[in-house]
Amino acid sequence: MSETVTYREALNRGMADALAEDERVFLFGEDVGASGGAFKITDGLFDRFGPKRVRDTPISEQAIVGTAIGSALMGLRPLAEIMFADFAAVCFDQIANELAKYRYMTGGQVTLPVTIRMSNGAGGGFGSQHSQAAENWLLNVPGLKLVVPATPADAYGLLRAAVRDPDPVLVFEHKHLFNLKGELNDPPAVGELGKAEIVRSGEDITLVGTQLMRHRCVEVAERLADDGVEAEVIDPRTLAPLDLDTIRASLDRTNRLLVAQECPPDGSWGASVIARVVGTQLEAFDAPPALVSAEETPVPYAGVLEEMWLPSVERILDAAKRTLDY
């Protein structure tokens, strides 16, 4: 049995099930309570679970992440919300220096089963400071698991996996996908961190993308199929841990790799994937790996500019064709 739900509904259900499953789980953040959250993702949870399990905070992101860390230290399973991933910047120390390193610096004395959800990504006209793919800020910080779901099923499944995981997990929820519909099993499946999905099989080229770009890669694959080219589309789903094996195996079959991402190229997850793969599989490449990135600028506001900033289906398609024709 399955049901069609939106990405937003899937997240909501994921939180509800996590709260119902384990008394140690509590949800907190700015306006996540009675008002149901800035994007209405936590709608109804306050009514169902009450003020102890679902709690509003002041506008104090450092305090929010700190509360998650401290609560986890003492055996709770905090599920925190940072409204926009861009605001990871105001609590970056708590995330990158405290949360990520606490277990290591104490020689394993503590575990930190913290989940932090944040709304991510561009495409909505929110401007430079509310549109970033902030997971890229944290790639170089060992100690964090980074989850980037693209479908309702993954939004549910990976959020559940995050809450059950004994380690810090950041869940990036893409704003542009909140209304995306998809199937959710009943009961819905809990996911697994570190497992990529082969969204579409193909032998001619491997397209790798997450979140919004995963969907664009699928569109590109369909356009290529019109020309008789079969692209394999892979969604890593989690960037740390990263399922390189699936990408490597695909590349061994297709011998051509394209990564599409909605961020500038330097310091990006796409560049990291390429550097890793090329470091061990140079001969597998019949063409240079293509990295299709956003522009090397902040995200512009105006619709026409923001559209150009993001890798479009056309831009990815062109890069795929160049890679195929190489």
């Binding site: 700015e30 306006d31 800035a38 105001v90 006209g125 401007g127 902040p298 506001y301 105006a302 026409v304």
Partner: protein, 327 residues
């Protein structure tokens, strides 16, 4: 420590007060047009309107000199217009036009007009307060007696940047004025649920800073309080924290129907609408309805014409998206 400045309308020339009224009308109508455009889907993203809070923006900005500077929040249309930004270019920015204030790259949350000292609207809570330090420091360093004023919300008083900025402004005795627009809510949260004190101006004491709570719906009160703070700052006596009590008539952003408000609250505040208050005061001073209507009409026409112009402007040129990362 916190005090309520009483209104001294007598000292402000009538012509000036009429000018404030015009500006408040302009801002009100500007915001209503924004509301409409967002509802119609002409404008994407989010927007945060300030109907009901016009007296804070106008009273404060009109207590400043042209060479003074001002920074504000994502709910900053009013402040930027009050500091003197042209209506059409403000609309243009919100519409994402190339001739908008920021070339269409900033948007509703980032209206900026350096020509008039509107140095920025900030979308990250509290982020401009440390920046205001620097602006004030530059005046101090350069030996000018300009001041800088920063608007922010009640909810912003709980973020770390607020604390660092007010502390350092006081230690360095910087010519800065911190104006907290206490509209009782941060997004959908009533202030009592996020802040353990009611009178936010009391936080000034933690920084040995002058602090006052004032009626933010009375433009004259706001003007006078800011003028006083500015005089102190220019004299090298350091910063001031002003808490202006006010209310936003609409929800937090376009998505918010504001269902969390207790019944009757909005209605009570509508009776203290800052425009109505100023009109009442002017009537008492002998200004007749015809003149008041004329002021309003002029404002409405100005906004309508500006919007018309802005709508006619073209989208930004594609290549502009790659400009202005570096100098």
């Amino acid at each position: 420590m916190s005090s309520s400045t009483s209104s001294s309308t007598a000292e402000i020339p009538l012509s000036e007060q009429l000018e404030w009224l015009r500006l408040m009308h302009e801002i009100r109508v500007f915001e209503e047009e924004c509301h409409r455009m967002f509802a119609q889907g002409i404008v994407r993203g989010s927007t945060h309107l300030g109907q009901g809070q016009e007296a804070v923006a106008v009273g404060a900005c009109r207590a400043l000199r042209a060479s003074d500077t001002m920074s504000c929040t994502y709910r900053g249309h009013a402040a930027v217009l009050a500091k003197g930004a042209p209506l059409d270019e403000a609309f243009g920015e919100i519409l994402g036009k190339g001739k908008g204030l920021c070339g269409g790259k900033g948007g509703s949350m980032h209206l900026t007009d350096m020509r008039v000292g509107a140095i920025g609207s900030f979308a990250i809570i509290g982020a401009h307060l440390p920046i205001a330090l620097g602006v004030a420091h530059a005046a101090q360093y350069q030996g000018s007696d300009d001041v800088t004023l920063a608007f922010f919300g009640d909810g912003a008083t709980n973020i770390g940047a607020f604390h660092e900025a007010l502390n350092m402004a006081s230690v360095w005795k910087l010519p800065a004025i911190f104006v907290c627009e206490n509209n009782l809510y941060g997004e959908y949260s009533p202030i009592a649920s996020t802040t353990p004190i009611e009178r936010l101006s009391e936080r000034a004491a933690a920084y040995a800073m002058a602090g006052a709570t004032i009626d933010g719906n009375d433009v004259v009160v706001v003007h006078d309080a800011v003028a006083e703070a500015a005089a102190r700052a220019r004299a090298g006596e350091g910063p001031t924290l002003i808490e202006a009590l006010t209310y936003r008539h609409k929800g937090h952003s376009r998505a918010d129907p504001a269902a969390y408000r207790p019944p009757g609250e909005l209605e009570r505040w509508l009776q203290r609408d800052p425009i109505t208050l100023l009109e009442g005061r002017l009537r008492e001073a002998g200004v007749d309805s015809e003149r008041l209507d004329a002021v309003r009409g002029r404002a409405e026409r100005a906004v309508a014409e500006a919007l018309e112009r802005a709508k006619g402007w073209p989208d930004p040129e594609p290549e502009t998206r790659l400009e202005h990362v570096f100098a």
